[in-house]
Amino acid sequence: MGYKKCLAAITLAALAGAAGAQEVKIGLVTTLTGPLGALGKHVRDGFELGVAEAGGKLGGLSTEVIVEDDQLRPDVALQAANKLIERNKVQVITGVIFSNVAMAIAKPAIDNEVFFISPNAGPSQLAGKQCSPYFFATAWQNDQPHQAMGEYLQEQGVKKVYLIAPNYTAGKDALRGFKRAYKGAIVGETYAAMNQLDFAAEISKIRAAKPDALYVFLSGGMGINFTKQYAQANLTNEIPMYSAFTIDSITLPAIGDAAVGTYQTNLWNADLPNKANRHFVESFQKKYGYLPSNFAAQSYDTARLLDSALREAGGASNKKAFAAALKKAHFESVRGSFSFNTNNFPIGNFYLLKVVKQADGTVRQVTEKTALVDAKDAYYAECRM
């Protein structure tokens, strides 16, 4: 009897030990300070909600999330990633918003066989030639929202478009993405200085060019400045303004009525009618007291994807099994349909949103229609995995 009891105790201890070994450590590297620090807050809160809804245990495993601020600086991000990989021994890194940061982290993560799951950044390199079984994107390839708008305007038969974007790589990529799909006439193309304040000159030029539509990619403060000044010049009704990565629920409160009547493409909006999304928007608002943005939604999706894959593979230690489980994407995305393409980038819908003023005086984005169904990025064919 004594012997049996002892054996049982040993077995239990061994089981407990095994369970203890099956914990998951996740590094969340995101932008929490600087002018764009608000985005990181959304990413962190979205992920935290996803973990909380799994009872604090993603995939039923004890979960530790280590948050690091990248300050939107690739060198800082690289340092944080090295620390997470070497000292904290994380199995997964996520949270990254910006592509320059993602590119800095991708190499050490992939080299050390740490899964890097980007909730926002989707650089073309990682979608194409440099794709890796250790890299997953849960939002988009960066060009996609631009390409989606190009396709939409093409389909609508809009004849003349004016384009404006910031003068750096992402700005040029954005307009290239737009032009990949839009075949009409481009009557003007302006690259503004990074962090430009005053757009009066560009706006006068746009007015004089008399396009049928304006397409804008100006992120952060630039987009707020531009949209306000465009409305102040009384052009919003004259030349409709279409944009991506410019007006979202984070910048909208700072733009206010000036954004009313403008259109955006996005992969998500708070009013999407699927069940997972209704639940997400409600519990997010209840927990954090503010409206989630697409950044929060993407990060929440990432946590839920991890939950499903960890459950299926029984942890992240068997890398092959974990990668295969991730690829299945067995979770209900707040975006509606979601699956992974051959390059580990999503196949999903893009929606056309419009900013409207509601009866209670608040300004919100509403989903007008689905602009693209199950869209794939332009680079997956280059990916050999």
């Binding site: 608000a38 000159a201 006068s204 403060g221 400045n225 306000k228 009384n234 910048t251 700072a254």
Partner: protein, 287 residues
């Protein structure tokens, strides 16, 4: 041709906005001989305070007045607590300290108001467009021009035709002599710094409906402002006024007429050329 005049107006208007910033900074740098990088941070503080006061009071004018006054007081406190020991130190120490102030004020602002950008709307009674030869020009931008011209005239009068202005000019020319004459230079410097802070706040508030009210908003405009005061001649309000218009117009026309990318460097080229030709700026002050 019409487009050209419209762009010229855009340039003058942008220049006027820069002048509001430059006027305060040129006084502080030129007369107090203090490199104050935190001028942009005070511009930000002014804009944030105006947002809060306009929500509290519901009145735009009251909010502008309160925000300018509060920022001037904050400037006074900063001058007294932080900057006073720096007057005798060299410029590098001043740069380091005022750069530290930028970081401190940015983080403090984030702590109080949060990281999300805010907005200050144009009050309804200023929200109109003026039709200029068939083009709707935003009336608010014309108001900004008027406000800047009013500030320029006010400063001209203050510095050129009042007793305090005389002391300011004297302090700029020969600091030791004016102390010897029994003038309280410490008080004079405090007042100049407070005036500079108030002007920075006014610039931030007037810019707020056009630009974004967010943490770090002063950092970008500070660089252009430094270009303006260097071109204008450090310490000269008249020089800043002229240089602001030149920078505004050249920057605007450069952006429109030159290929993308070139337009953004042209004002720095302009600065280099002017400094080569007149190393102390267009209107060197007497100091």
């Amino acid at each position: 041709m019409l487009l050209f005049f419209e762009q010229l107006l855009n340039g003058v208007q942008f220049g006027m906005m820069l002048f509001l910033m430059a006027a305060g900074l040129t006084l502080v740098v030129g007369i107090m001989n203090l490199i104050n990088l935190a001028h942009g941070a005070l511009y930000m503080v002014g804009a944030f305070l105006a947002v809060t006061f306009s929500l509290l009071t519901g009145s735009y004018l009251l909010a502008v007045g309160l925000a300018v006054a509060c920022t001037a007081l904050i400037g006074l406190a900063i001058e007294f607590l932080v900057l006073r020991p720096l007057y005798s130190r060299d410029h590098l120490d001043q740069v380091l300290c005022t750069f530290g102030l930028i970081l401190f004020l940015n983080e403090l602002t984030r702590f109080i108001w949060g990281a999300t950008p805010l907005r200050l709307d144009i009050p309804a009674w200023l929200d109109y467009s003026v039709s200029l030869a068939g083009i709707d020009y935003p009336g608010y931008r014309l108001i900004v021009i008027l406000a800047s011209v009013a500030v320029a005239i006010g400063l001209y009068f203050l510095i050129g035709h009042t007793r305090i202005g005389m002391l300011i000019r004297a302090g700029a020319s020969d600091r030791k002599m004016i102390i010897g004459l029994g003038v309280n230079i410490a008080l004079l410097y405090s007042l100049i710094f407070a005036l500079g802070a108030g002007l920075a706040a006014l610039a931030g508030i007037l810019a707020a409906p056009i630009f974004t009210v967010q943490v770090g908003m002063g950092d970008h405009i500070l660089i252009l402002t430094l270009v303006v005061i260097v071109i204008g001649g450090i310490g000269s309000v008249r020089g800043s006024f002229a240089a602001a218009i030149v920078v505004g117009v050249i920057d605007t026309l450069g952006r429109v007429m030159l290929p993308s990318g070139f337009g953004n460097v042209i004002i720095y080229l302009l600065m280099a050329v002017i400094l080569f030709w007149r190393p102390r700026g267009l209107f060197p002050s007497h100091a």
